[in-house]
């Protein structure tokens, strides 16, 4: 099956930076009501606004391989980067996932996330792949790091 690339299975079996850690500015709980997948996600940032650094993303995810792998990729791609960069990565992921297969994704921007390009062909699974990312931006909003309605 072309959907389940090795990278996806690897991330879903060995999710990076998994577990909930202390030291966070916001915690959110997101669910996918159609399937019951859920993620509790904490984010820690140093500083304020766009140039703050995402110093940690910790999470407890219960879901399919696509949602778990995607959250793992989020942690891998975003921890240590600025909020501005993180939002850019999120925007690129979302663009690829909602492109119905037209956007193969840019490895320079989304790293292992390109392995999820195949998800775009399955509209029912796009929400799975976006669960952790939506939780992440929500956590940034909840913490006051970015404003409601900010890009991505």
């Amino acid at each position: 099956m072309d959907l389940y690339q090795e990278l996806i299975l690897d991330h879903s079996k060995h999710p990076r930076a998994a577990g909930l850690r202390e030291g966070y500015v916001a915690e959110v709980h997101h669910i996918n009501p159609t399937c019951g997948d859920e993620v509790t996600l904490r984010v820690h940032v140093d500083g304020q606004g766009d140039q703050a650094t995402v110093s940690d993303i910790s999470y407890d995810a219960h879901g399919c391989s696509i949602s778990t792998a995607s959250t793992s990729m989020l942690a891998e791609e975003v921890i240590g980067h600025t909020v501005a960069e993180a939002l850019e990565t999120h925007a690129a992921m979302k663009a690829m996932l909602t492109s119905k297969g037209k956007d193969p994704g840019d490895e320079e921007v989304i790293g292992d996330g390109v392995a999820l390009a195949g998800v775009a062909k399955y509209p029912a699974r796009v929400k799975c792949a976006l669960l952790g990312w939506m939780a992440f931006t929500d956590a940034l909003i909840q913490s006051g790091t970015i404003a409601q309605g900010a890009k991505a």
């Binding site: 099956m1 959907l3 389940y4 299975l9 399937c35 219960h62 879901g63 399919c64 391989s65 696509i66």
Partner: protein, 440 residues
């Protein structure tokens, strides 16, 4: 006479479908001929979510629009008269299919609407127009009993009605093998219980509820019994006069009929005491500026122009099911269910959820592959053209009680074949390799 007329044991032996029978049946469902995912044959095992319609149903709907299209029960012109007659004939036919009279059968848009209609009858009682509606009135101290197996459609409306009335919601827990645990039934059904709402056949596990026993306990304390029959009406011969329940809801599109049409049966004396849910056109008797009076059932519960084409489509589905024979359909689905159970039993790496034997179960087969999420299992099956449902199947509390987040479910209908069951397992056998789990 036994009140459990819907279990296999009381059904006389019937001749199974031959291969030619099945081929002839399938030929009436053109959608089954289509291919999916790179030209593979469609193996449709999701009829528990929605079933396909035979040509006769589509023809009936088309005929409505070609010849009859007019608002039933409105106007006196020729089309309106003929349309009204066709709509009322459909009611009669569908009611007869479940052993009821036409006056006891209400068209709704879905089983969900039927169940909400019932819940709102409780919420809207007592009603000044209906002294008998006192029997529905819910107050603090009263109790509503449901089960842990319920579909959200037979749970959430009761959560809302108890929240609004101050009554208490209680439930029969799920016990081992997905069966209802009736150990504490005596303390769950008491003088406080006003209504017991339960599923006939679980949409996830296929569990058949001991309806007669629960209804007897409920009636002993004067409680009304509401049955969600979505997963039984399409699959079993069913007679409302022997079930022992007071109200029953089912869905059109799960029984080869169109979407947008559902049914509600109620015993005549129960419906007569029920206040309306939706109000407006054609459910009224007299309207003044400050008050109105309402029609007797079933019109009282059918406000607005009805989904007539869908009602007639559903009547065509019922005619088709009757001609094929519900006993034969049930026997056919039982034989496919047995094939599923054998297949699951041969595979240690997959857990069938719910009753392990044929007793107490219908043709909904939920399963779990430990280590692989249901969505991922479903994706592999889909890649082979096999359509199953994945997720919580609108029964989240049931999954929580099983300690799992989601499951995959195969569900049967009259048109499924033994070859499709085999194709399902052939596709399922690809799952361990894709996700690197041990097979045994």
């Amino acid at each position: 006479m036994s009140t459990t007329s819907t279990t296999a044991t009381t059904i006389a032996p019937v001749s199974p479908f031959t291969e030619a029978d099945l081929a002839a049946i399938r030929a009436q469902f053109p959608i089954l001929e289509r291919t999916v995912r790179d030209d593979q044959p469609l193996v449709y095992l999701d009829s528990g979510a929605t079933s396909h319609s035979p040509l006769r149903v589509l023809d009936a709907e088309r005929d409505w629009y070609l010849r009859l299209n007019a608002a039933p029960h409105r106007g006196a012109h020729a089309l309106s008269e003929e349309g009204t007659e066709a709509y009322e004939n459909a009611r009669e036919r569908i009611a007869a299919f479940i052993g009821a009279g036409a006056d006891e059968f209400v068209f709704t848009k879905s089983a969900t609407e039927s169940l909400n209609l019932i819940a709102y009858a409780f919420q809207n009682s007592p009603h000044p127009l209906y002294p008998g509606s006192e029997r529905f009135a819910l107050r603090e101290g009263d109790e509503v009993l449901v089960t842990e197996l319920e579909h959200h459609a037979n749970l959430v409306p009761w959560q809302e009605v108890t929240r609004r009335t101050g009554a208490t919601l209680r439930w029969i827990p799920m016990g081992e093998h997905g069966l209802l645990d009736l150990t504490d039934l005596d303390s769950l059904i008491t003088e406080k219980t006003k209504v017991v709402a339960l599923t006939h056949v679980s949409n996830v596990l296929g569990t058949i509820s001991p309806v007669a026993k629960i209804a007897e306990a409920a009636h002993a304390v004067g409680a009304l019994v509401v049955l969600d029959a979505c997963q039984s009406v399409p699959h079993l011969p069913l007679d409302v006069t022997t079930l022992g329940v007071d109200l029953l809801a089912f869905s059109g599109h799960k029984m080869l009929g169109p979407m947008g049409i559902g049914g509600l049966w109620g015993r005549a004396d129960v419906l007569a005491d029920m206040p309306p849910f939706l109000t407006g056109g054609s459910m009224i008797e007299q309207v003044f500026m400050d008050r109105s009076t309402y029609m007797p059932p079933p019109a009282r519960f059918e406000a607005g122009v009805p989904a007539a084409a869908q009602a007639i489509g559903l009547a065509a589905a019922v005619a088709w099911l009757t001609e094929v024979g519900m006993e034969r359909i049930h026997a056919h689905e039982q034989s496919l269910t047995r094939r599923f159970l054998d297949g699951f039993a041969e595979r240690d790496w997959v857990n069938l959820l719910g009753p392990a034997g044929m007793q107490d179960r219908g043709g909904a087969l939920a399963f779990d592959v430990p280590g692989v999420h249901a969505h991922d299992v479903g994706q592999v099956l889909d890649a082979h053209g096999v359509a199953v449902r994945v997720g919580h199947h609108c029964a989240w509390p049931l999954h929580r009680a099983l300690g799992i987040q989601a499951s995959a479910r195969a569900s049967l209908a009259v048109y499924n074949t033994p070859q499709e069951v085999d194709a399902f397992f052939a596709a399922l056998d690809q799952v361990p390799a894709v996700f690197g789990i041990e097979r045994s």
